[in-house]
Point group: C2
Chain length 362, copies 2
């Protein structure tokens, strides 16, 4: 059995959940998947960086409170994240990128991905910025270097969306996609339906941990806009920039409008859509829509997300599931690693290292 | 480019739709899929049988009215379906089985599948009977003969359900499935919600072509029971017989009950479920349930079907789409053929025949 050595870039909720999965269930997963996983480097803005090419012992790191974790003073550790150095120089097979992304330039995630691909390392990321803003260039770079670039978690966390198109729809033509791509705004619309005012619904969503301290990206549709770009580009082969995607959020909707629509059997939803036009171009947009009850997205409630695929032979197929969550997003990364393995198991980048019985250092 | 020669067993709506797809879009599909499809035999209870190992010219057959088609008198044709002879003796690569199935013994579909596998031919079928009642034995026979046995269309027509588990859920544990697996009963429950009496709703469903002349299998849950067996056995690794699956249909539900539940935000649905128990066994049942609005199946309306997969790391992921339809089910067969190609492209059963430019006989 082979093994992949991982560099975890960012050690917030998601990569920490992945580390927990590897630490707790690594042996069971290895038996099922046919390969083992080992973490050889971790970087984090707050904790610094930690490198051990013999494999980092994860248990003590996971035992520490997230806010109190520091790599400084540990063997191979530093208070400095040293992201570029770790990504380029540490001999990892796969760089697992789960930091954060600026919606206008994709940074710092974009640089992390690019450095890794330039170093001929496989990459998986949960960040939508690099995929939405530079997906085509990054995919080309990955192809040139013969490595994998996977990003299922950039849309609907671990719920399989991009890979559903790739693996399930051979022989079908997808003519358009419509999605509920942001759980926070969907939760808030549900509360408006129940008569709660927007500001109170936002405060609730913040208390529940759905919404950020600054909820603008959720409320004004900017988060959905990037996801629509990914769907348009990946599913429909478009090459859209951010300014090509019309974007209207939910801040102008009143509880009265939402309840009035509900009384007529309609449900307001913030819908991101990308639809092939007759001239072959793709119209992509984000806007609130009052959907009839029988629309496949009308019943998607609360923090659940969904994508409806409109196809030629099969009509509409809809996949719904979690759109966020640390474990759910960590699963997206695991599914990416599995995809990298499946695609590259026969070439030179496949793991060739023997697995040692003792993966933890004494 | 290679080619698969097909024997179509049954030439009702589904295999006819597949023949139309091959006839109209075969070249485009071949370009996309990397292999061509040719029909070398067709059998049908009413039309008889037709064999041409140089490839049947489909266009004239498709031009005939379905009820008036007869193979007798054509070159290679007979009024006799000759199913066993065609399946065993005609040199096809893949037997495409779309006849019908008795819910108690799976026949005649079960024999068709068995004959084909015994003859070392790949098989795909849309019939749930053979899969539900003899899936394990047939899969073993296929494995012994080194051929494929695919049956995505046995549950939710072409909507990917069985293959979603196989291709999307690596590393996940599926702890249970719940499904709306019969469009007729789901349509009728929706009409009861709107105040229509059961008998009137059944008559409507018959008029719309959803329900059979004898609607018992739809109304009493027997159709769902077989599909639950397939889900329990395929997804959860159970080995259930029909008597292991408790089955209650919707005939005892009144419009009053359904509307009363709706007024409380609950929706009655006929739910087929299979859930792993603490002792490792699988509890499988068919029963009407009043689901709360936020349940992933509550919003599934009309003839749409859906399956909710409950998993350890990803929570609940739901796939919904068409549960019937001739083109949708023909796509299930196409997706099965693609799966057979992907799995067997490297072994001896892969198509080795060169594709001739002229696939139709003069």
């Amino acid at each position: 059995m082979g093994r992949y050595d991982l560099a975890l870039i960012g050690f917030g909720g998601v990569n920490r959940a992945l580390a927990e999965l590897i630490s707790r269930s690594g042996e069971r997963l290895a038996e099922e998947l046919g390969f083992a996983l080992r973490v050889v480097a971790i970087t984090d803005l707050r904790a610094g960086s930690l490198v051990d090419t013999d494999g980092i012992d994860l248990a003590p790191l996971l035992a520490a409170e997230p806010g109190e974790l520091s790599f400084a003073g540990r063997a191979g550790g530093s208070a400095d994240p040293r992201n570029e150095w770790v990504i380029r120089e540490v001999p990892a097979d796969i760089v697992v990128e789960a930091t954060f992304t600026d919606p206008t330039d994709g940074e710092p995630a974009l640089s992390h991905v690019r450095w890794a691909l330039e170093s001929s390392k496989h990459v998986c990321t949960t960040n939508k910025g690099p995929v939405a803003l530079a997906g085509r260039a990054l995919k080309q770079l990955a192809a040139e270097r013969g490595v994998g670039f996977e990003f299922e978690g950039s849309v609907l966390s671990g719920t399989p969306i991009l890979r559903t198109v790739e693996r399930m729809f051979a022989g079908l033509e997808v003519t358009g996609v419509q999605g509920i791509l942001n759980g926070t705004s969907n939760y808030i619309l549900g509360r408006l339906e129940e008569g709660v005012e927007l500001s109170a619904a936002i405060a609730e969503a913040q208390e529940l941990g759905y919404a950020e301290a600054d909820p603008t990206a959720d409320i004004e549709g900017h988060d959905v806009q990037l996801k629509v770009m990914i769907l348009a580009n990946e599913v429909l082969g478009a090459d859209l920039r951010r300014e090509d995607v019309f974007c209207e959020g939910i801040s102008a909707i009143t509880p009265h409008e939402v309840r009035d629509a509900a009384s007529k059997g309609l449900r307001w939803k913030l819908v991101g859509s990308a639809v092939r036009q007759e001239d072959g171009s793709v119209d992509a947009r984000v806007a609130p829509l009052a959907l009839p009850a029988q629309h496949p997205l009308a019943g998607i409630s609360g923090p659940v997300n969904a994508v409806a695929f409109h196809t030629d032979l099969l009509g509409t197929v809809t996949v719904s599931g979690p759109g966020a969550g640390r474990i759910e997003t960590a699963y997206a990364l695991l599914s990416d690693i599995i995809a990298i393995h499946q695609r590259h198991a026969d070439d030179d980048t496949a793991p060739t290292r023997p697995v040692l019985k003792e993966t933890h250092r004494v």
